[in-house]
Amino acid sequence: MSRRVVVVGAGPAGLCAAAGALRAGAEVTLLDAAEDPGGQIRAWPGFERLRDHVLGHPRCGWWPETSVWSIERAGAGAPRVHVLRGEIDAAGRDRHVLRPDALVLAPGAHDRVLPFPGWELPGVSTGGAAQAFVKGEGLALGDRTLIAGSGPFLLPVAASLLEAGSRVQAVLEANPAATVARGWTRRPWELASQTGKAAELAGYAALLARHRVPYRTGRAVIEARGDGRVEEAVTARLRPDWSVVPGTEQVAAVDALCVTHGFSPRLELPVAAGCRLRAGAFADVDADQRTTAPAVYAAGEITGIAGAPAARTEGLLAGWIAGGGPPDAPEAVAVRRRRDRARAFAARLAAAHPIGAAWPGWLRPGTIVCRCEDTTYGTLRSTAADDSAHAVKLATRAGLGPCQARICGPAVAELLPAGNPHHRPVAQPIRLGELAKPPVENPGRKESAR
């Protein structure tokens, strides 16, 4: 009997993992909380062909609108995967338990936003939110927008908003030009092998120039102001450590502010599966994308923020190995080489866009840090002065709201010495009624909505 592989997430990493596992001869169940495959990036060159191949494959079951809410370890075998099937956050979705021979985790990442005064105002969003509404619904989040933060991702956000008709006032990169330039031009031979990505970035630069949108380095939004919604953004020049240069503040009128300082991998599933983390920040994998948990593989942004091309090659390899493909097959060797090149390119981009250690200087005592619980910086600080990190959380509720610290966790971890911020036994909300219902058993039965 062929191996049964479950792939969680149908973004670039998961879709390619499914393809790799199918190629190795496995039975595949590919699932995603979303209705359609594509993940956060939604499409890339060759996406349609791959999607049609994978979803139409006789050995592949495609489960859309399926959320993994829990992962249960099963000794030396692959863990069991508990899922809910049905419309997002509906009541009474069906509960299923999958028992694969191998599990590939590819849940991706979400934007990381550092807190600043006023970031809770409506109209302030992540860059990813701006992207999602343009790509999903052709909707610009504002008419006069400002894009700020750090990283190459700010450029596609600007491109999307321009395409949707928004007047983008500027793109502000917090890091100084010297840091960005050093990261981008170091080791030029790596760039040569990633011409696709480099050309994409050059295309964004040309688009900004055409629309006369300034790209300013060493500048950040340090405050949002407005009555019930964002009306003004206060920007300031930053030193390389992201401390504010006094007297450089400027006020810009905006009706939307899109901010992203990087990405946070979605680590609750690998943590629940028992995977060891690398530097406390990413799922640790070997050269074949194998995690430290039995029969669990990881691919894409949860193994390192490296962009879609790296995610695709990681997925292909993870799926191939999880599906029982020989590690020394010529195609696996070639994929490994491509993956390493894509990761090297990502490493130089990361070096060009570090987070400056002095960012907490933007905070004031009244600045909200935990958006769910409205916990302020002042409350956190005064409680932290005489309590352990755990006691601070219980006393202030910082990180204990519905998002389970996905948004404020990394910031709180930098402001306080904390425990494992990625421990979330319930990965996705489940209602009591759904929990009480017995799960539907799936004895290897293949189902597909298409």
Partner: protein, 88 residues
């Protein structure tokens, strides 16, 4: 595309088929529809189902992420508030 008519606390909003509830509201200029524990207005922040800022009640079912849920013709959406829960 066929229009989708929903209500928010009884007020009518019209969107397009395939839009999310958040998309229908945002496209009509509505920016916020939830209150945080301190009573401050909230709308969309992450846009991808991670932050839970956009929660609404849909046809009586609480805590639905408006940025992820497709709007269906006739959906009765109501706002949620955590104001009054002790803000800290």
């Amino acid at each position: 595309m066929s229009p989708v008519r929903i209500t928010l606390d009884g007020e009518p909003f019209t969107g397009r088929d395939g839009q999310t509830i958040a998309g229908v509201l945002l496209a009509s200029g509505r920016r916020s529809w939830r209150e945080s524990p301190s009573g401050a207005p909230r709308g969309v922040f992450c846009g991808i189902g991670v932050c839970f800022d956009c929660l609404v009640t849909v046809n009586g079912v609480r805590d639905v992420r408006a940025c992820r849920r497709r709007a269906r013709d006739g959906d009765a959406v109501t706002t949620q508030s955590r104001a009054g829960e002790e803000a800290r």
